[in-house]
């Protein structure tokens, strides 16, 4: 499985040297990501009284809620990797707090996403072990959208069974199920009392946010990729400026070094480019020398 890290390339591009470069960009405290996570959740929560008291119309609340839902996953994703605490047990609470709060908008339990995401990193593109396999190996955008809307993009029960011998996975999963049930109870209570508001401020924006996240985090970065550390995620470009898809063109560097802060990835890739080419990362030859402030558009 994968590439032999020690023998695949010359000493000049050794894994140790690559890791040392990556480490430089995996130190900074990511305050802006915390601001986005907590901020979007607060904006989303404030929509309820604003709409209920007629201060803003429901359609405007829907538009803002959709925007919040699209911004919701990334701060939690950093938390899933412990990128706020950076190994400091005293700061672990920041991971947990941001991870949970930012996901309220999309109604997802942090613990379940955390453990399944770790398995996605460990087994990327393995058809039986990668929880994201269905969407990252989907045949078309339409299929990803339908899977996400249907709620079957990840068969959580299946992966609970596959990892039944992993005690930490099971424990986190059980915690997540409780959060999921709480979300369901709140949703059902709210829809009974405020049906249209619940539909347009929470349920539909959450669905749109999940489609957006699945498409850009799971589908596009893994199209046509294989199994293996340097082969399972690619550099890609299309008509969309990277600023509106969370720079997921650069997702490959996250798979190589998950501790690099999201907003530090462009500078890290600029420095790591020779390593990426030497390792044969899909699309690495096309990576521009300058990525910072580059929208990475290709028409």
């Amino acid at each position: 499985m994968g590439v032999d890290i020690k023998d695949a390339v010359s000493e000049e591009f050794s894994f140790e040297k690559e890791k040392a470069v990556a480490k430089k960009y995996a130190q900074r405290f990511q305050w802006e990501m915390i601001l986005i996570g907590i901020g979007q959740a607060c904006v989303w929560l404030s929509l309820w009284p604003l709409v209920m008291f007629g201060i803003i119309p429901l359609w405007l609340g829907f538009v803002v809620a959709c925007f919040c839902a699209c911004m919701a996953y990334l701060p939690s994703h950093e938390a899933q990797h412990g990128n706020y605490s950076r190994g400091d047990p005293k700061k672990r609470w920041i991971d947990v707090l941001v991870g949970h709060i930012t996901l309220i908008t999309v109604m997802f339990p942090y613990e379940i996403l955390r453990v399944t995401h770790m398995k996605h990193h460990a087994y990327t593109n393995h058809d039986d072990k990668d929880p994201d396999f269905l969407t990252s190996n989907a045949k078309s955008v339409k299929e990803v959208i339908l899977l996400s809307l249907d709620g079957t993009s990840t068969d959580y029960e299946k992966y609970k069974e596959i990892y039944s011998s992993d005690a930490a996975f099971q424990k986190a999963f059980e915690k997540g199920v409780k959060v999921f049930l709480t979300y369901r109870i709140i949703l059902m209570s709210l829809v009974f009392l405020f049906p249209l508001q619940t539909l347009l401020l929470w349920w539909l924006p959450a669905k749109i946010g999940v489609v957006y996240t699945t498409l850009f985090f799971s589908y596009y970065p893994h199209i046509g990729t294989e199994i293996g550390r340097y082969k399972n995620t690619r550099f890609w470009q299309h008509w969309m400026p990277r600023y509106i898809n969370h720079s997921m063109q650069l997702h490959f560097v996250h798979h190589l070094h998950p501790n690099i802060g999201h907003y530090d990835e462009p500078r890290a890739i600029e420095e790591l480019k020779p390593f990426l080419i030497a390792r044969g990362v899909p699309g690495a030859e096309e990576i521009p020398d300058r990525i910072t402030y580059n929208p990475l558009i290709k028409i």
Partner: protein, 65 residues
């Protein structure tokens, strides 16, 4: 308690259809003037939600994926 929860969750699509879709259909139908004269509007809305949920439960998914 766990057994009770498991039983409820086993029919989660039906509950979702009845409560969520039913409530939304009920609210939308009340907003539509053309449906104002229709009798048992709420009953029809919740019944429709229940049937949608039941079909999804039998099929195992909501959409034609």
């Amino acid at each position: 308690m766990e057994k009770f929860l498991e039983t409820i969750l086993a029919y989660n699509k039906i509950w979702f259809g009845l409560i969520f879709i039913g409530s939304v259909l009920n609210a939308v139908s009340k907003e539509l003037v053309v449906l104002n004269q229709v009798p048992y509007l709420s009953l029809i809305s919740f019944l429709s939600g229940f049937v949608i949920g039941l079909v999804a439960h039998i099929r195992g998914k909501w959409l034609w994926v």
